[in-house]
């Protein structure tokens, strides 16, 4: 069946397009963008009137946790994919900290199989850098790449040993694969549960200093420069990290970076009620850090916005703050929180789509993030003015751990099309 999206404002930064165009889709591919409303007749296509919505290349979340295999009570590939398309994401890259860790072909293939069965979003597994993410012995990069992994990362359990990280970057270079680094000096962050600063001092909670992130960002930039491998810095949260990445880019080092909506939306002030929904690694930082992250988004230092979707159940969250798991459920709020950057004049809508679709595709070497004829028909239809109230009980995700529950947000994906199929619509 052909699909004809009619009357929308098409924004495709990959082709420098921002105008009213209709899109013809056939056999999962984009056939043409046209301003001729009479290009098709109703007999052979399904015509969808998408005026006055914004039509963009399908959003890509470069950093998601799907929890399967191992923690299916928190999320499965299926529920995570449903949450993804409900949030406007046509593609998601899932981190390897499952149980077992995605450190071998069989886990990667299992995730891909579950994703196919779910049939909702494209799922791209990120495989572990080291076996068991223990930071000691490298995984089989070649075999994992052949199995479908798109990048390597020991997210959540950063490689502390610089020699191992050097080897990982060198080996990834051999396969032209990016390495995603969760930058945290564990010796500095050990025992910490929130950002170190005035608020942690007042609350008596053990702090994680910004320098724990800054130091590892500096190390990995140094290693990226030395090895020539593309390093992608995950969830940037500090002023120091933004500065280091900006300098590295000026020097031509192959480094890219992402941040997550909570790092430009919330500060550590939000922890005063000891809500474990505010507990996340890296931790919510201070106002200066938030400002720097926004500045980094504005000037291109930060290439991508990722949800860092980290579902946890009430078992991990409804306990003492010190003991609670860290992580924020993000897939279904990420777009609306990011659209606020457009209203606040931090980003243009074009820049936002770059950071949520075009750039993530580039970083992961995916042939996505574009509406060019011939490419996969991955499309997100956004109603930028729709005002809605976050209700975690209505999440497609299995978990409810959002600090944004009851927030009134503006802007929402109203239709998500994955390879020509409408996998989500709330119209």
């Amino acid at each position: 069946m052909k699909l004809f999206l009619k009357g929308g404002r098409v924004i495709d930064p990959s082709q420098n397009i921002d105008s009213e165009l209709d899109i013809l889709i056939d056999n999962g591919k984009i056939v043409q963008l046209t301003c001729d409303h009479t290009a098709v007749t109703p007999s052979d296509v399904e015509i969808v009137d998408v005026s006055p919505m914004i039509i963009v290349p399908g959003l890509i979340d470069i950093h998601t946790h799907l929890r399967e295999p191992g923690h299916e009570y928190k999320e499965t590939v299926h529920t995570g994919s449903e949450a993804a398309v409900a949030g406007g994401f046509t593609s998601i890259a899932c981190m390897p900290n499952t149980d077992p860790v995605n450190d071998n072909r069989s886990v990667t293939e299992y995730i891909l199989k579950q994703a196919r069965l779910a049939g909702m979003a494209n799922v791209y597994p990120v495989a572990a850098i080291s076996k068991g993410s223990a930071g000691k012995i490298l995984t089989e990069f070649g075999d994992l790449k052949d199995a479908g992994a798109v990048a390597f990362s020991d997210d959540g359990r950063p490689v502390m040993n610089s020699r191992v990280m050097r080897s990982a970057l060198e080996y990834a270079y051999s396969f032209d694969m990016p390495v995603i680094s969760h930058c945290e000096d564990l010796t500095l962050s050990e025992g910490g549960v929130m950002n170190e600063g005035v608020v942690s001092t007042e609350l008596g909670l053990k702090g994680i200093p910004a320098i724990a992130e800054d130091i590892m960002v500096q190390r990995d930039i140094t290693l990226a420069a030395y090895t020539g491998t593309a390093v992608h810095i995950a969830h940037v949260s500090t002023d120091g990290a933004v500065h280091a990445i900006r300098e590295a880019k000026k020097r031509g080092i192959r480094v890219t970076a992402e941040t997550a909506p909570h790092y430009f939306t919330l500060t550590d002030d939000s922890l005063r009620e000891f809500s474990s929904f505010m507990k996340v690694y890296p931790p919510l930082r201070g106002a200066q850090d938030v400002q720097s992250v926004k500045e980094g988004l504005r000037d291109g230092t930060i290439d991508a916005i990722a949800s860092d979707h980290a579902p946890h159940s009430s078992i991990e969250k409804d306990i003492e703050f010190d003991f609670a798991a860290s992580g924020i459920n993000g897939l279904e709020t990420s777009l609306a929180l990011s659209l606020q950057l457009v209203r606040d004049n931090v980003l243009s809508i074009n820049q936002l789509i770059e950071k949520m679709s075009v750039n993530p595709a580039k970083i992961l070497n995916l042939s996505k993030g574009t509406l060019a004829p011939g490419s996969d028909a991955d499309i997100t239809v956004i109603d930028p003015s729709l005002t809605w109230t976050v209700n975690a009980d209505h999440f497609r995700s299995k978990s409810r751990n959002t600090p944004f529950n009851t927030w009134v947000l503006q802007g929402k994906a109203v239709m998500t099309i994955v390879e020509g199929r409408i996998t989500f619509t709330n119209r």
Partner: protein, 307 residues
Amino acid sequence: MKLAKKDILGIKDLSREEITLILDIADSFREVSTRKIKKVPTLRGKTVINFFVEASTRTRTSFEIAGKRLSADTVNITASSSSMVKGETLTDTAKTLEAMNPDIIVIRHTAAGAPHMLARLVKQSIINAGDGAHEHPTQALLDMQTIRNHKGTLEGLKIAIIGDISHSRVARSNILGLTLMGAHVTVCGPAMMLPRGIDKMGVGVTHQIEEAIRNADIVMMLRIQLERQNENLFPSSREYANYFCLNSRNIRLAKPDVLIMHPGPINRGVEIAPEIADGVQSLILDQVTNGVAVRMALLYLLAGGEE
């Protein structure tokens, strides 16, 4: 006289007037503990649960005695937080306790914010008896009562708090309370023991004990936890004592009528020299005595405040 509060979670939530009210009531309860028959019927028929998820001797005993002297039925529960992690959650324990219909639950917990969580979960009044490194409001109240009884006021006093501020809930609650009541507080310790941004809490900061003590009306020493040596908080107790111990030499820098306090238990010869701890200017045992009175006052006020 009533306190319009369900819980006492921290000094942070109290106003000057509320602190004054609590201290006034505590003063009136001090007398009960000096009677031959140390019991009044005020809380007869009320149940107080002392729920201690962290080891404590003096605070738990103090709360138990406070409850008993008011004729409340007091029940002590101890649990280790590690066993709670593996077994029943705080939420489930809270609901279980709530179902037994006590009137007040006193909680001590290793995790900051645990009393706040409990307060959200149950309808009973909660008293924070110390949560992690966050707050220890009853300790600060008994300290303030002790100072007030000896100095007449808290306003304008120069008070030094010396030791491991980072890990001290006593320090945090006292900083909040004393500065609110108009005292000038200086904190002192090696930089590793002073948390970042502590000056934003309205205190002076110094790393020299002499500077902290100079002209002080009150010197409050904090217990050094010797095991923190392993975290490089200080190199050795010998070195710590050389530079941060209150002794008969450096105490001379304080006002002649300086008074010495310590929440206990003390490490003799580490943070406080024995002759200072036992000296005439030491209020350490007064603090303990006042602890019972302050806790009686809080139990009384939270239970409704009617005679």
